[in-house]
Symmetry: C2
Subunit: 482 residues, 2 copies
């Protein structure tokens, strides 16, 4: 691990490659507490860009941010039966007890603590819809196989919790949020996703319906990138949330919750990065372009000219709205700097030397495919902005192609088995029985249904389940997952 560059190939050993990219790029680090990572400035700046993008979007929907306590009394979990079963094994507790001598949990999710407040705040239909989101840390203790960003005891996320007077409004906004998730992940992170509904087996504990955006990594494993739940009225009943309707009678409202986490950073790394290190999607990259001046020690005057020009270009690009950095460190060679910024994933490298200045040009190198081109300095800003958009599209298209190539339709259980052994993504008919999913998961080493793809979820007429042979209800996607 002391070598600077990545020492294994993505193809050969993806888990080791992933760790090296995350650690050596400076995205994150292990900490002294098992299962808890440090998000270093590079990783956090990406998370900040994700937060800024998403805050703007949900604010347009009328969602407001708030902050609820991290500590939740044990009894609150028990109010919703499925909810407590779903989370009990993962909860960390504090040694200290509450005033009523109750155990206190560190939040594994915040439904329980938030809905206790909602029950106090909501009185009338005038208080609805109530739309609140929070950005916070979450703890799920029982984590095996720790992997930075993907699986850790503590992580950061957003959780939105909305309350509606009608089922229609609720269901509509559950899907609106799913579309916002697609937009965020595809349009900011260049990761293609499939929108769909989760099966009963994979549903959020306590939800009526769970929707997901599923991404698929280069190894064929799915990574759930965000979920949006229609909670129905179950939590409202459990937490005694009621509102007086226009009919002057009391009703239970409908609720939604939805979240994505710093796992997205892991998905981004795995999807796009390569054997040289991180590859950052341009729209979320904290630094979009780096300028490397090619100076010559023996010719200080010429070097001074190059540096002056490089500073000019930096200003020009900044003014054009590009997040640019000038690497004028004297103690490192241009070659070292190239590798360093490749490791850190900066989308565009701009090289400028004495001869370039003479010709009023520079070299522009794309991180994603190494392609170099000569660019006239008069059109540099324009060209950089164009190229950033081009890189975004290329990353997206490449990932999409990989997924398409890995996706197969299977008709029999043997075909499903074979597809899973070959680490493919399989589309198959399924009966919808949770028991069948349990058996498949056990028999095929962790294979689960990822979702019923939206708009293509209905079984063909007369089709039978790939596993039970019963009449099929749905078309579903099967794969292993992170």
């Amino acid at each position: 691990m002391n070598e600077i560059g990545i020492t294994v190939k993505k193809e050969d050993d993806m888990p080791e490659w992933y760790s090296q990219v995350v650690l050596k790029s400076g995205m994150a680090d292990y900490s002294a507490v098992k299962g808890c990572a440090v998000i270093r400035p590079l990783g956090y700046a990406i998370w900040q860009n994700i937060m800024d993008f998403f805050n703007e979007r949900i604010s347009l929907m009328g969602v407001e941010n708030a902050y609820f306590p991290m500590f939740i009394p044990e009894s609150f979990f028990h109010r919703e039966a499925q909810h407590v079963d779903g989370f009990a094994p993962e909860v960390a507790w504090v040694e200290q007890k509450s005033d009523t001598n109750e155990r206190i949990a560190v939040r594994p999710t915040s439904e329980a603590i938030m809905y206790d407040s909602y029950a106090k705040w909501i009185r009338s239909h005038r208080d609805l819809p109530l739309r609140i989101n929070q950005w916070c840390n979450i703890v799920r203790w029982e984590v095996s196989d720790v992997k930075i960003f993907l699986r850790s005891r503590e992580f950061l996320w957003q959780e939105g919790h909305c309350v509606y007077a009608t089922e229609e409004e609720c269901q509509k906004e559950v899907l609106d949020i799913l579309e916002e998730y697609r937009r965020l992940v595809e349009e900011l992170l260049a990761i293609p996703v499939i929108k769909g509904e989760k099966s009963e087996h994979e549903r959020f504990p306590g939800a009526k319906r769970t929707y997901t955006i599923e991404s698929f990594m280069p190894d064929g494993k799915a990574l759930q990138a965000g979920t949006s739940h229609n909670l129905g009225q179950g939590f409202a009943k459990a937490f005694n949330i009621t509102f007086q309707g226009t009919d002057e009678k009391d009703h239970h409202p409908w609720q939604s919750s939805w979240g994505f986490s710093t796992r997205l950073l892991g998905a981004m790394v795995m999807q796009h990065s390569d054997d040289k290190g991180l590859v950052l999607p341009p729209r979320v990259a904290p630094t979009q372009a780096v300028i490397i001046p090619i100076t010559i020690k023996k010719k200080p005057e010429l070097s001074e000219q190059v540096l002056t020009k490089a500073k000019e270009l930096e200003k020009q690009l900044k003014d054009a709205g590009v997040r640019v950095k000038l690497d004028d460190r004297e103690e490192y060679s241009p070659g070292f700097k190239y590798s360093d910024w490749e490791l850190k994933g900066v989308p565009i490298r701009i090289e400028v030397g004495p001869r370039d200045i003479e010709n009023n040009q520079c070299i522009l190198a794309k991180r994603n495919d190494g392609e170099k081109s000569t660019v006239n300095l008069d059109s540099l800003s324009e060209k950089v902005k164009e190229t950033l958009e081009q890189i975004h599209q290329e990353l997206f298209d490449k990932a999409k192609k990989q997924i398409d190539e890995k996706t197969v339709q299977v008709k029999t259980y043997d075909e499903l088995k074979k597809a899973m052994e070959e680490r493919k993504i399989a589309i198959a008919h399924h009966c919808g029985d949770p028991e069948s999913e349990d058996v498949i998961k056990a028999e095929l080493g962790g294979v689960t249904t990822r979702c019923r793809p939206m708009g293509e979820d209905q079984a063909d007429e007369g089709a039978v389940c790939v596993h039970t042979g019963k009449p099929a209800k749905y078309k579903v996607i099967f794969s292993k997952n992170y």
Copy 2:
């Protein structure tokens, strides 16, 4: 508590008044866990504005944001002796143990976990200065007399942790940050502060020097609004942080840490608010102006005209960069809306009715003093922006005047005692002995030295200590505090 407005006067019962303002304005709420508050959307939006302002400032200084784990192994606290003594009584622990069967704390501050990483990351003088900040939740369990924002088991804060090769750099930036804190609190929140150094007695556990910005509430109590610590080399030695200098030898670096918390929201409420509710300083107010259309039920056509005009004005103000809201709720009367927005602290109310439209004017009412004026609609945006700045200045000046009026110079212990009984802020000479401060604190019911005001901290020649009669070393400020 079911009445909508504030039912006690600030003068008569400040603690009860404070609770009512915080709760009824919708800033925050109690939660089911004692000592943990819910920061509601209004409160969180103010905190967000504070974060945005401060992030921009520290980014100019080269500080980057990151995120470190919330969990800290017990042994880490013990590495710095004063640090563990300072925090041990307040720490919450999780029931689960580490892999090495060690107790795990929920962070009461992050020196210990961060500096463990710093020791790994810092190798050479090229890695310095290292400037990292994080925004996170903090837990200090042993809290008596819980008060939302001011004293709670969990709160939000920022903590900056920087590392330098030289003492000079370190000390310079410790003071630069103090100046940034002054700027934030005075220029964003309109709260006057006094910059100064803490006495040995009041220093941060493990710090070499602690600097503070002290604010003073209308009841004469001080509220520490932010602190900036020169940690010296103590933590570097305890956590074994070294760097290879340009001399190719290993050295311990110098460190700083600095923080402010959601207590600032409490200070803001106490400083400016009044018997009608919250008074928000304009620069941080999520909504700076609210438009109330005066419609007349019996004249729907005229009302429609008013609404149309009100929407026009909303757009005009938005375009001018004012954070404005149009309150077009039909189910509430204008009078109800006036009180509602007064309770919520919006700096400017704009009333517009049929007659106003005829005269191309509107009424502009200032929240801080109730002053009303008639404004020509053609110059509305300009007038609103001017008035927002005027309100900021008026709030600041009023607070400053209160503080000045409460500040007295005392020469004898009897005078100090009397000043403290009268809830004044006393400036006195002191010998600097921590033991003397212990005695004063015990004898005068919690009175502490708040700081030695910067630039005015040196004792007059021949002056003696107000308590011990020994030769005085410093001029200090005494008061009770939050």
